[in-house]
Amino acid sequence: MTVQHRSLKKKKNAGRTSKLPALLLLAPALGFLILTTQVPFIMTIYYSLFRYSLVDPFKRPFIGLENYVTLFTDPLSVPVLLNTLVLVLSVIALTIIFGAALALLFNRPFFGRSVARTLLIGPFFIMPVITALIWKNSLLNPVFGLFGMASQALGFEAIDWLAQYPMVSIIMMVTWEWTPFALLILLTSLQSLPTDQLEAARLDGASQLQEFWFIVMPHWTRAFEVVVLLEAIFILQIYGEIYIATSGGPGLATTNLPFFIFQKAFGEYSIGMASAAGVIAVVIANIMTALFLRLVNRNATLEVKS
């Protein structure tokens, strides 16, 4: 998605001088978004300054930044933030690795390819709540789950996944959900690879590895960016899978920031605290995006130079 920044620069001079129609085209969308997101967001900031319990209408004192101070000084916030990062980063890494491998595999013509591809994309169409229920009940449960049954049939002890490896379980689940997404984008990108480049490389006697490294990988850079940015935004918000599968536990093992906010809001009805954590989540997401875009921009510039 870096394209946009470069193209903006390029097209600046091409733009017409009259700004009015352009503004008219832009205004409805921005107006809608401002109304529907900024009004609740400002209210959220406002609530974050109160000790606001939903179930106690009599005590709602203004406490300034106390909610923020509590969140920043609570030692439990550290594992929550770490869990959030671990989940986002590992799912992105895994979906990219699996997605890339599968894209290479599915780029080769073979019998029934489109049917197989369709089956492979299936998980992306499943509601997160159902995903979590399928995994918890039919796969991960050490007695009734198929993983447990399979490992026992092979003579191993069944693993109690959600208790022994809770974060790994959640990562597996979310990776299953999002790998099809990465696959789709990477496969598409691969299919648009200009054939002349490959042919030229082959004529030069490039090995398959060289072909992959010097032609496919650079071509994929932008597709990676799409996957990373979109997945980051969505996976930073994941809570449904956690809610169903582990309730954020055992202990705090799978509590990420969105689930933490969910707990504050609906477990404790502590709307003030949930609002403060929500504001922090927005700030964190913004910082991550800015860092990522800067990183990508630098690479993109290098790419252009070389």
Binding site: K11, L26, I130, S138, L257
Partner: protein, 279 residues
């Protein structure tokens, strides 16, 4: 596709067969949990958790007849919310993206970043303010209110993705049209839109999937009249009693329409992504 036809050696064929097999095995593995769930929909609650698992059984349809009872209204609401919010998002988002790409100003980039940032608030962080607003505007439990919510959710995605697709259109095409004195409408409708069509198709598919699968806003902002399929599906879960077979039937009914749609649109999606940002 790679045009060079490699000479056929036996080991090469063997390798191709092996890779094809591998691809099929992986595809079936990925789909297996879904298939297993669908098969549970035809079992009794007792069979659904039997160990060893019941593979051959007399299928029953009780779960489906129960699941069908409340399916209709929820399906209708889901269709309205998913398609309505997608249309609305494009109605608002396409012109905006067009404007930002072809009539950029110094603030376009920060505007675009701001648009993305509106997606960063975890929904549960804003639910109480939203509830109060919906209450005051009498939007609670209306499919219109939910459609607005999903538009808010999908609009940044549309602007963002369409921005990148439109950026791929060579500026020369537009400049040529401008020299010919094309109007703004002409530029937008006759030049930009046709070139961005595949991108529109693929973005629309993503929007529909996200709206179809959204549960949090649906669960909290609708009760009965405006409730879509994600609320319907929650009605099959219970904390007291066995529900897996019944829920599987309902879940099958919920995923079928979106999967059918997704599969038929897959070609479009692939084509769209090819044309656009990830070229």
């Amino acid at each position: 596709m790679i045009a060079t036809k490699p000479p056929t050696y036996p080991w090469r064929t063997a390798k191709n067969v092996a890779l094809a097999l591998l691809a099929w095995v992986i595809a079936l593995t990925f789909f297996f949990p879904i298939a297993w769930m669908i098969s549970s929909a035809f079992k009794t609650e007792n069979q659904a958790f039997a160990t060893p698992p019941v593979i051959i059984f007399q299928p029953i349809f009780d779960n489906f007849s129960l699941a069908f009872a409340k399916y209709g209204p929820a399906l209708k609401n889901s269709l309205i919310a998913a398609i309505g919010s997608t249309l609305l998002s494009f109605l608002l988002g396409l012109p905006a993206a067009f404007s930002m790409v072809f009539y950029p100003n110094s603030r376009s980039r920060s505007t675009l970043l701001w648009v993305i940032s509106t997606k960063m608030m975890p929904p549960v962080g804003v639910i109480v303010p939203l509830y109060l607003i919906f209450k005051d505007l009498q939007l609670l439990d209306t499919i219109f209110g939910l459609t607005l919510m999903y538009t808010t959710m999908n609009l940044p995605l549309v602007i963002w993705m369409m921005h990148s697709y439109l950026s791929e259109i060579p500026i020369e095409i537009l400049e040529a049209a401008r020299v010919d004195g094309a109007s703004l409408q002409h530029e937008f409708l006759r030049i930009a839109m046709p070139l961005a069509a595949p991108g529109i198709a693929s973005t629309a598919l993503l929007c529909i999937i996200f709206a179809w699968n959204e549960a949090f806003f649906a669960l909290n902002l609708t009760n009965v009249d405006g409730a879509p399929l994600s609320v319907y599906i929650s009605g099959f879960k219970t904390t007291q009693g066995l529900f897996w077979a019944g829920l599987s039937a309902a879940a099958t009914l919920v995923i079928l329409p979106v999967m059918a749609f997704g599969w038929s649109a897959q070609r479009q999606l692939v084509q769209g992504l090819t044309m656009g940002a990830v070229k």
